[in-house]
């Protein structure tokens, strides 16, 4: 028995070594860092330069506002779309199922740099295909990269394009776990399809949709590559600067590690708080 316990620790040891070195220690160290003024050598304890600065820094508040706007608009739209897509893709009536699934799931494998490049060309204000279509319909062209509102919309569309299939896959797997006879019984009782969706499918899917919501919240709080690459470092001005991009600038452009750590902990706290609030709301709603 003792030998088997020793074997268990042996199996666990390499993983725990990596875990401790590259996660546990950094978690502790960045908390400590978040109280240090790191712009001057040697680093000194000075929370006013990190946490104190955080609450009055207009650049941080701007990034926080942008992130929350994306969170409030993009996440619900994407999750609703993913749920509808999953239900439609699961339909018995669907033809060309393989191509349909491919269309929505393929973006999941496209890397950020690759899709950022395509979106920049497609939405190019002068020569992009999107504005050509818009003007073709008789509407005025949209300044996708010069107008703050349009740039935010562009980021949200890009993220939705990239991640809706990912969420639809997860929700679809939840759908397929619902026993078919529930629907057969409902159909026999002449319950209409829309009512079946709202009174059978949605309640049964609630846990898995909440899981997707939480994943998306954590992902949005860390949104970085899209504003970095598509709207060129959060442009125009800082109209699409997210918390992730702000942290990148503070941590790795200005090399202000202490302040960036305070930002990182704020991101973590917000992600966990908003996730918990969603889980709580999702559970208490009957």
């Amino acid at each position: 028995m003792r030998m088997r316990t020793r074997a268990a620790y042996g199996f666990l040891a390499p993983y725990l070594l990596i875990f401790t070195t590259f996660w546990v220690w950094p978690i502790v160290f960045s908390f400590y860092l978040s109280f240090l003024a790191t712009r001057t050598q040697p680093w000194r304890f000075n929370p006013a330069a990190t946490w104190g600065r955080l609450v009055i820094d207009p650049a941080f508040l701007n990034a926080l506002k942008n992130t929350l706007v994306i969170l409030v608009i993009q996440v619900p739209v994407m999750i609703a779309l993913a749920t509808v897509l999953a239900v439609l893709l699961n339909s018995q009536l669907l033809r060309a199922r393989g191509i349909m699934r491919f269309a929505f799931f393929a973006p999941v494998v496209v890397g950020e740099a690759a899709y950022a490049a395509v979106f920049r060309l497609m939405f190019n204000a002068d020569f992009g295909i999107i504005n050509k279509i818009i003007t073709g319909l008789g509407l005025p062209p949209v300044a996708w990269f010069a107008s703050p509102t349009a740039a935010m919309a562009l980021i949200m569309m890009a993220v939705t394009w990239r991640w809706v299939g990912y969420n639809a896959i997860i929700i679809l797997s939840g759908l397929q776990a619902i026993p078919q006879d529930v629907y057969e019984a409902a159909t026999l009782d002449r319950v209409s399809k829309p009512r079946q969706f709202f009174f059978i499918t949605l309640p049964l899917l609630r846990p898995i949709i909440l899981f997707c919501v939480v994943l998306s919240i954590i992902g949005t709080m860390q949104l970085f590559a899209e504003p970095f690459l598509i709207t060129n470092r959060g442009g125009p001005g800082q109209a699409t600067e997210t918390l992730g991009l702000f942290l990148y600038r503070q941590g790795f452009t200005v090399l202000n590690f202490g302040y960036a750590s305070a930002v990182a902990y704020t991101i973590a706290a917000l992600a966990i708080l908003i996730s918990l609030a969603n889980l709580w709301l999702g559970r208490s709603a009957k």
Binding site: M100, A114, W161
Partner: protein, 278 residues
């Protein structure tokens, strides 16, 4: 009876009226990626609409290769993703095995800490990781820096643990009675039985490493140690650059993953459905 089939027909029409246009919109960026990669520069930036591929892929590739040694960055990306996947699968399956098949002091604690990291944004660790690897170890621009720090993965462990714990205990006990040692039981009995899970996990880990952007951007800045997404991203930011070339890079990054997705769709979807990596 007739009214029922008529309503089925109507529902089928409605279903496709919604899904087909949406599918076209979703496929459009991938299609345009291919189209752009084959177009000369003056056609990309022209007032006309081009929706059909042209024939300049090779020329665009040569421009890309001249702008940045793209083949070298692809080589770096392939090596990193392969080694990362093998190491990460080994680490997570060993840990998953320990957590599934043994009882030992501290097991509950280890499990709850791993679960706890699921909700923790990566940003909390990235700054100290950078300070440690780049400054304390002095290991910027190395294979170690690209491969080892991202190895920790909590969902992979939970995924493997679930797979191992569903196997019947008699299988392993029989081997123990025969005097087979623990690591051989893991390697030659447990692992082969977990093959579907291993396939799903490997695909997801490979994809995650292949597309990883932030960490390789931070830790490696020498051109010969850049991964392909980072090299491509650095071109996007430039003002005078060949967009046809960038699009060739985007196609070369995307096409292998699309092929993996199409060929191994079942494993791929199983991996994502398990939430194996986010």
């Amino acid at each position: 009876m007739r009214s029922k089939s008529a309503s089925t027909f109507r529902r089928s029409i409605a279903l496709h009226a919604v899904l087909v246009p949406l599918a076209i919109v979703w496929l459009f960026p991938i299609w345009m990626m291919v189209v752009f990669s084959t177009m000369p520069e003056n056609a990309i930036f022209s007032p006309n609409i081009h929706l059909i591929p042209s024939n300049r892929f090779w020329e665009n590739f040569l421009i890309l290769q001249a702008d940045t040694d793209f083949l070298r960055t692809i080589f770096v990306s392939v090596v990193v993703a392969l080694v990362y996947t093998v190491l990460s699968v080994m680490l997570t399956s060993m840990a998953g095995w320990a957590l599934a098949r043994y009882s030992f002091a501290g097991k509950g604690l280890v499990l709850s800490i791993i679960l706890g990291t699921l909700t923790l944004p990566y940003f909390v660790v990235v700054i100290p990781q950078f300070i440690m690897v780049a400054r304390d170890f002095g290991l910027s621009n190395t294979w170690f820096a690209l491969i080892v720090p991202p190895l920790f993965n909590s969902l992979g462990v939970l995924f493997m643990r679930q797979s191992f714990s569903m196997m019947p205990a008699e299988l392993f006990d029989a081997a123990r009675v025969e005097g087979v040692r623990e690591w051989r039981i893991f390697l030659f009995v447990g692992m082969p039985l977990a093959r579907p899970t291993l396939a799903a996990l490997s695909i997801i880990l490979f994809l995650a490493s292949w597309n990883n952007y932030l960490w390789p951007l931070l830790i490696n800045n020498r051109p010969d140690m850049m991964t392909a997404p980072v090299a491509l991203g650095s071109l996007i930011g430039l003002t005078k650059v060949s967009w046809g070339g960038i699009m060739v890079g985007a196609v070369l990054l995307t096409a292998p993953m699309i092929a993996v997705f199409v060929l191994l769709q079942r494993h791929f979807i199983a991996g994502i459905a398990a939430g194996a990596v986010k």
